[in-house]
């Protein structure tokens, strides 16, 4: 145990995902030795992430403006929507360069143990989006790209049930091949790209 502010910093860093006690200590002492100007930049960035971030009105992704870059991009096909759990999953799918449609970010997955039901996810917004046209086009395909684990699979099944009464809508799920029990963001680009092009209808 260190005294005072240093230990406070180590404790706070240690609560971050993926940061163990050893790394927390290393980062803390790195910051202690860093240039005050760099610390200032980090401080600014931390401040802005809570104050300045907005979520896209349309898809729910993190955004700098009320509508995100992808939802504004006329080259992106508005008739195909890829549904993911988290903003980081958008990045994972973007990295594959396989997908030219748009996104819908749920903000999580069904997880009764953590008290997350359909009302805590952006499912109602998705259904609303289904019944409005974008750039004169209807949504004709929904690709469900929730994580290949228990909660993600349950969410996928639930979405399929909610979407099955939309006439002419194709609902597909990422093809298997993704490591089961995993997290979308950790799938490598090639595997995820293949899963995307080999998606199966549900």
């Amino acid at each position: 145990m260190y005294e005072g502010p240093v230990q406070d910093l180590i404790d706070e860093l240690g609560r971050l995902p993926g940061v163990g006690p050893k790394s927390a200590q290393r980062i803390a002492f790195h910051l202690l030795a860093a240039d005050p100007a760099d610390i200032g930049k980090l401080q600014d960035a931390l401040q802005k992430v809570k104050d300045g971030v907005v979520f896209c009105d349309v898809c729910g992704n993190v955004s700098a403006e009320t509508t995100c870059r992808i939802c504004r991009d006329p080259r992106r096909d508005p008739s195909v929507v890829c549904v993911v759990e988290e903003p980081k999953d958008v990045l994972a799918v973007e990295r594959t360069r396989e997908f030219k449609g748009r996104y819908h970010v749920l903000g999580g997955a069904l997880d009764p143990l953590s008290g997350v039901g359909p009302d805590q996810l952006r499912i109602r917004q998705l259904l609303t989006r289904m019944s409005t046209r974008t750039d004169g086009q209807d949504i004709t395909e929904i690709i469900i790209a929730t994580d290949p684990n228990t909660e993600g699979e349950a969410t996928a099944t639930y979405l399929v049930r909610m979407l099955r009464d939309f006439p002419g809508l194709a609902v597909t799920r990422l093809a298997s091949g993704l490591p089961m029990g995993g997290d979308l963001e950790f799938a490598d680009e090639l595997t995820l790209g293949r899963a995307l092009s080999g998606r199966r209808s549900m």
């Binding site: 069904l110 039901g117 359909p118 009302d119 684990n149 349950a154 099944t157 049930r161 089961m180």
Partner: protein, 383 residues
């Protein structure tokens, strides 16, 4: 197969231990509490990722240490694999095969197969159904390691569904509307994963039952015949003849439909009680001697013989499948009378490798003389 080399660090009482082993018989001798069982427990952990004595990892790590390490070199049909496990309670354990990390510890399952018989096994006969389910799942995973995944998927769904039932029950009692819109989804997943596990167990019992009956007849020829029967929560809707030797193999889809129907039927009770009442987590393996159940009726000696027959039956089944598991006999000879000792010795002397622990060397039958290690004062020494 056999374990050629065992190394442990900070495992149980051992700061460090290093044993070079051979095929055939190895006996670990030492006074009570010297750490003999701890060593074979480490080997069992590599095979099953669990201990035969405790349900959690924390007691396996030496007092005051952050983590334990177990390394085994396993030789199977001339090929040697090095399996390393790092056990860190409260964090994800890590595993390596031939020095290369594997994505999940359960990827090492199947490299080493063991059948371990220990005094704790009396609970297989006298204890709760959970003991017998664990026995079945352990053998199932030994035969087909993918069942480790099936089971963990099932358990996760079960937890999630349980949480939903509980909160729905609480909402109803509080006069608020319960959000059950997702219960059907969880039912579907419970039935799908549950049917896979159930099918695996039923087929296993069908294959295992004759070996158990034969083992019991050898160990206790004067006693009534031993029978085992899988009893599922499907009750009357469990398909006829499935799970019985010579019967039809289990059909996963049929079982899934049956589970769904049963879930539908008991839903009001489930909401009332807030627990999942249907599925392989509530099943049992019925053990009977003649017409009477073993639990509550069998004598002390009969119970011991039955527990031994379950382990030996598993051992013979794995052999019949074409793998020679390592047989581990922890402190069991002292518990058996002469004829049972002799029977066990007969089976053990034919094993590719058998590891035996005993406090008193004289308890081990003579035909099982082989390599001998003395365990004393934190050291293990070949004699």
């Amino acid at each position: 197969m056999y374990v050629r080399h065992l190394q442990v660090s900070d495992f149980r009482s051992w700061e460090h231990a290093d044993l070079v082993l051979e095929p055939g018989v190895t006996v670990l001798v030492g006074q009570n509490g010297q750490g003999k069982t701890n060593l074979v427990e480490a080997i069992g952990y590599v095979a099953t990722l669990g201990s035969h004595r405790v349900a959690t990892d924390a007691p396996l790590v030496r007092q005051g240490c952050p983590r334990a390490v177990v390394r085994t070199a396993v030789v199977n049909e001339g090929r040697e694999l090095l399996v390393e496990l790092e056990i860190t309670p409260g964090r994800a354990n890590r595993a390596r095969i031939n020095r290369g990390p594997v994505p999940r510890p359960r990827d090492v399952l199947g490299v080493l197969r063991t059948v371990l018989f220990a005094p704790e096994d009396l609970a297989l006969v006298r204890g709760d159904p959970g003991e017998r389910r664990r026995f079945l799942d352990e053998v199932l995973t030994s035969r087909a390691p993918r069942y480790a995944g099936v089971r963990s998927d099932y358990e996760r769904v079960l937890k999630q569904r349980g949480a939903l039932l509980k909160s729905a029950g609480a909402a109803r009692r509080g006069g608020r509307p319960a959000d059950l819109s997702t219960l059907d989804v969880w039912d579907g997943h419970l039935a799908a994963h549950g049917a896979e596990l159930l099918a695996g167990r039923l087929d296993l019992v069908a294959d295992l039952a004759p070996h158990i009956a034969a083992a019991y007849a050898e160990v206790a020829p004067e006693s009534r015949p031993a029978r085992v029967l899988y009893r599922s929560t499907l009750g009357g809707s469990q398909p006829e003849g499935v799970g019985v030797p010579g019967g039809p193999r289990a059909d996963r889809e049929v079982l899934e439909d049956a589970l769904l129907a049963e879930l539908n039927r008991v839903r009001p009770q489930e909401l009332e009680r807030g627990v999942s009442l249907v599925g392989p987590h509530r099943d049992d393996l019925d053990l009977a001697l003649g017409e009477l159940p073993a639990k509550g009726y069998a004598s002390h000696g009969e119970s011991w013989s039955f527990a031994l027959a379950l382990r030996l039956g598993a051992y013979e089944l794995l052999r019949a499948d074409g793998t020679e598991p390592v047989l581990v006999l922890d402190d069991v000879f002292a518990e058996l009378d002469r004829r049972r000792r002799a029977q066990l010795a007969k089976v053990a002397s034919g094993a590719e490798q058998v590891l035996i622990t005993a406090a008193v060397a004289e308890d081990v039958p003579e035909e099982l003389s082989g390599a001998r290690f003395e365990v004393h004062g934190g050291e293990v020494r070949r004699v």
